[in-house]
């Protein structure tokens, strides 16, 4: 039997074999053989919620979470690590007399779940008589549902051998094209959650995300120095079909050529320039300068100690001219392949029907909200934006998929936007990012910076960063690509909260043109002459 064929079979029979064993955690789930966690969940939930009610909780919630991850990382001809992990446990969240209590454990059994209930109630009661204001919740709808993210190929069903072969092939092609180094990797996560609350919801959900990457490095052995170019492949809420269909073979060769061209390119001259920004770069600018500032918890001071607050004050709702009239930015947790896509958020709110515009034709129209926040701005209920990154973490308001909507004219492409630029830069791929704690001042780099001269591309620049103020930047937008140019970017690891929680989120965008943005030469910024 050929090795690869054996591996496919091993993976398949391995799954089947595991379902016959008694382990609570590693059994596969099929239509006829539900996960033991699914089986255990209803009785545990009833026990916790009944106990919480008896002990005086006004609202209570029981959640089981299981996160399964696999990752492979390679550099040059070596697969340096192959890792698999399962992180499983349960938590109890209670609201007692207007104070939250939360307790979590890796152990899942009735005795432990009841202990967590007592602990959560006790630490909520510690706050009695000390609070200025009670936490109050809006009315939640009860849902009984099971949801599984649709996908063609479960990435956990693909053999390690195939995945390793893909990475080593990418690296080999990079080296053959003239790279000195190449690292690559593939990360995949399956997130399963079971949620019950005292309102009556019983929700079971499962979703998958996948992140392929590579990065090539070329060295200038004569002059010294080096240049990198990272893959433009975005992480996705998708099955393995995304990796199967992505042209890594073509992109890695292009990446090496572009890294060489960038290394030999002249440094950019600092000053205002028109920018045409590709979706592979713009998604991150959307994330930082629109996504985070419009989180209601930030605006209300709840994240002041770490992530920060926001320039988007509540009194600006419906009044702030956030962007030019062309710009509409939509939040949507039902979007296909979105990393934030799910049927119910971690407060138990159904996401379908909660889609909303954050910016509507340039005007700021709504915040992202989690449970207990809507009343702060006179709204009746949240818009389904809660997420907890583990069984052991308290749900926070986190970003839905937040995307720049395409322009009305579908004939507009990046080339057409470039054609109307005399002196500018076409920026592709995301690089470095940073923004202040109220989200005014940002600075971004990219992967490649293509010089635009009199409406045409004319070689590359290196050492480019663009810096600006969120409102000025978005109001300088005067051109958007059409629907056919729309691409989804995103990240696995948006950080927020304490303890830090890591959330996956996607941002769709089209190529967009911005006028007179401040461009920096990063060599000069570091003290060297360009």
């Amino acid at each position: 039997m050929k090795r690869r064929k054996f591996l496919h079979q091993a993976a398949l029979t391995g799954t089947a074999a595991l379902t016959c064993q008694t382990s609570l955690l590693q059994q596969g789930q099929t239509a006829t053989n539900p996960s033991p966690l699914s089986t255990a969940f209803p009785a545990l939930a009833d026990a916790v919620l009944n106990q919480a009610e008896k002990l005086g909780a006004g609202f209570s919630e029981f959640r089981i979470g299981k996160t399964t991850s696999e990752s492979l990382h390679a550099r040059e001809s070596a697969v340096r690590s192959v890792d698999y992990s399962e992180d499983t446990g349960c938590c109890v969240r209670v609201l007692v007399d207007g104070a939250w209590g939360f307790a979590a454990s890796h152990e899942i059994n009735e005795q432990e779940a009841l202990r967590l209930t007592h602990t959560a109630i006790a630490i909520a009661r510690e706050q009695q008589g000390k609070r200025l204001e009670a936490v109050s919740l809006e009315k939640l709808t009860a849902w009984k549902d099971k949801w599984q993210m649709p996908m063609e190929i479960d990435p956990f069903s693909i053999s390690l051998d195939d995945k390793a072969a893909l990475l080593l092939d990418i690296n080999q092609r990079a080296l053959a094209a003239g790279a000195n180094f190449c690292r690559s990797g593939l990360m995949q996560v399956k997130e399963e959650k079971w949620l019950a609350n005292s309102v009556g919801s019983r929700i079971e959900q499962s979703r998958v995300r996948i992140r392929p990457y590579f990065s090539v490095t070329v060295i200038d052995s004569k002059k010294g120095g080096f240049s990198n170019r990272d893959s433009l492949a975005a992480p996705r809420g998708s099955g393995y079909e995304y990796v199967r269909d992505y042209d890594f073979k073509g992109e890695v060769v292009q990446a090496v050529e572009e890294a060489k061209e960038k290394m030999a390119a002249p440094g950019v001259k600092s000053g205002p320039k028109d920018l045409v920004i590709h979706p592979t770069n713009l998604w991150l600018t959307i994330h930082e300068s629109i996504g985070h500032p419009t989180e209601l918890d930030r605006a209300m001071g709840y994240e002041a100690n770490f992530a920060g607050t926001s320039f988007v004050k509540p009194e600006l709702l419906g009044k702030l001219k956030y962007a030019s009239d062309l710009v509409t930015v939509r939040a949507d947790r039902t979007q296909k392949n979105g990393l934030s896509t799910t049927a119910y958020d971690d407060d138990g709110v159904k996401t379908e029907g909660q889609e909303f515009n954050i910016i509507d034709k340039g005007l700021f129209t709504n915040y992202q909200m989690a449970l207990g926040q809507a009343a702060m701005i006179g709204k009746e209920h949240s818009n389904g934006c809660a997420y907890a990154d583990s069984f052991s973490t308290f749900p926070l308001q986190r970003m839905p998929n937040i995307s720049l909507q395409p322009g009305e004219d579908d004939s507009i492409t990046a080339e057409k936007l470039i054609a109307d630029v005399e002196d500018g830069i076409y920026i592709v791929g995301s690089g470095s990012w940073s923004i202040d704690q109220q989200r005014y001042n940002f600075q971004f780099t990219g992967q490649t910076f293509h010089k635009i001269k009199n409406g045409k591309l004319d070689g590359m620049y290196k050492d480019v960063a663009y810096q600006g103020n969120s409102i000025e930047f978005w109001n300088s937008c005067d051109g958007l690509g059409g629907a056919s140019t729309y691409e989804l970017g995103g990240a696995f690891n948006c950080g927020k909260g304490r303890p830090m929680q890591s959330a996956p989120v996607s941002h769709g965008a089209v190529p967009s043109r911005f006028r007179q943005v401040n461009v920096l030469n990063t060599q000069e910024e570091g003290g060297a002459k360009a």
Binding site: G89, S159, Q437, Q443, P499
Partner: protein
């Protein structure tokens, strides 16, 4: 309840006993975590967590794979070991594979306090109340995070290596903001021992900064002398520490290549008053006594009087280059000159005091150029005194070249950074020509 050394040893033996691989390595981490967040002068979440991580790396020849899980029942253990072996057999040969280390000799850990380990999750609300009372009394808005962790970390392998380390930490940080939103201050502290814990002084520092920083004056970007308070200094130095990598340097893709065409070790690259070292037994900010692969963390000079002394080197790279393997730092110490903060300020004719830096991200790896912002207490220094609050700035700076521009330093402090929690004992620094690239409107 944390596991003691005997319990951990028994658990590692139980896992290793099941292994059929050529060799295997087991890691265990168990944490009893209590944390409390507050904002707008009220507690917003209060949590108790019991966490476990078990992992086994199975090796067949140079094929290797790791499985991590968090259940202690026999069946889960058996499945995890079997899965790691199945995956390892399927993994490609790794030309950089290194076999597990034999037994090592470790220093005695200095990271554990019985008083901290005896504290329960319900004590956090009592610890925090004086801090919240301080912000309420000053009529400012307080937000912060208090985290008490009791943990054990262990490694064992089939070659006979075993290491165990219990740890306790209490981390506290607080931001105070004026009600009008025109002033903001921050402060932090980190302890191994919660005995006689008092968070009120830290809260009062944040309150003072919030009140003193109201209505900041406009100041242009440019290059100024700055006094970096200890938290700001630790963030910038931490970035340098992660980049001290032997392999990157040898492969000519390190910032070190821009400083020296030759072997950088032994060269004075950083200025005569720059010294950084690690010592896991250093009591004021103790670190881990073993690295992830089981190497003993020892006292290690990284930079001494400006001269680069050591770089991190993996066991594989060390063998290939015929040098000694050097684990990453598990703590960082910078001996200061013991000037008080006031004495540092007194040395400045016109410059800027930076309380905290934020959102530091790499801009250019070739020169180790990072960007970031000031926040929560930025003040103008004139004629040796703080004269007024000023706007915040974005800066573009390289921590490598920054170390060449240290004019003077204060007494080391154990404080928190904006990101990362590695224990560091770093003094406030007076640094010349700090490059503020633009003004930030954030308060």
């Amino acid at each position: 309840m944390i596991l003691n050394e005997d319990q951990i040893r028994q658990l590692t033996e139980k896992i290793l006993k099941r292994s059929k691989a050529d060799s295997a390595v087991v890691h265990i981490s168990k944490t009893d975590d209590a944390n409390l967040r507050f904002a707008n002068n009220d507690i917003t979440s209060n949590a108790a967590r019991k966490l476990l991580s078990l992992s086994i790396t199975s090796n067949f020849g140079t094929r290797s794979a790791s499985v991590q899980w968090n259940q202690t029942d026999d069946s889960s253990l058996k499945d995890a070991v079997a899965r790691s072996e199945q995956m390892a057999r399927l993994a490609p040969e790794n030309p950089e594979f290194m076999p597990p280390l034999e037994a090592q000799t470790y220093a005695s850990p200095a990271t554990f306090s019985a008083a901290s380990a005896a504290s329960g999750p319900s004590e956090l609300a009592a610890w925090i109340q004086p801090a919240i009372d301080a912000t309420r009394a000053a009529k400012v808005s307080g937000a912060g995070f208090l985290n008490r962790k009791i943990s054990v970390n262990a490694i064992a392998n089939s070659a006979g290596l075993f290491a165990y380390q219990p740890s306790t930490t209490v981390d506290f940080s607080i931001t105070a903001r004026s009600k009008a939103g025109n002033g903001s201050g921050w402060s932090s502290c980190q302890y191994t021992d919660s005995h006689n814990l008092s968070l009120k002084p830290t809260a009062q520092t944040a309150v003072s900064k919030a009140l003193d920083s109201r209505d900041p004056a406009a100041m242009d970007a440019g290059k100024y002398p700055v006094v970096l308070e200890a938290s700001a200094a630790r963030n910038l130095i931490g970035l340098l520490m992660w980049s001290l990598n032997q392999r990157s340097s040898d492969e000519k893709r390190s910032f070190l290549s821009s400083l020296s065409k030759e072997n950088p070790i032994g060269q004075n690259l950083f200025g005569n008053n720059a010294t950084l070292y690690s010592d896991p037994t250093y009591k004021a900010a103790p670190g881990s006594i073993f690295s992830h692969d089981g190497l003993a963390n020892k006292k290690t000079d990284w930079i001494k009087d400006g001269t680069l002394k050591n770089l991190f080197s993996s066991r594989y790279w060390a063998k290939k280059q015929n040098i000694q393997a050097t684990p990453y730092a598990s703590n960082v110490i910078m001996p200061g000159e013991n000037h008080s903060l006031e004495q540092l300020i007194k040395k400045v004719d016109r410059g800027v005091l930076i309380t905290r830096v934020w959102y530091l991200r790499m801009v250019q790896p070739q020169s180790l150029l990072y960007t970031g912002l000031t926040r929560d207490g930025t003040f103008l220094i004139e004629n040796g005194k703080i004269s007024k609050p000023i706007n915040n700035f974005r800066f573009n700076e390289s921590p490598a070249t920054l170390l060449k521009r240290i004019i003077a330093s204060g007494s080391p402090e154990r404080v928190l950074g904006s990101e990362g929690s590695m224990p560091m004992h770093i003094p406030p620094l007076l640094v010349d020509d700090f490059h503020f690239s633009s003004v930030s409107d954030a308060v």
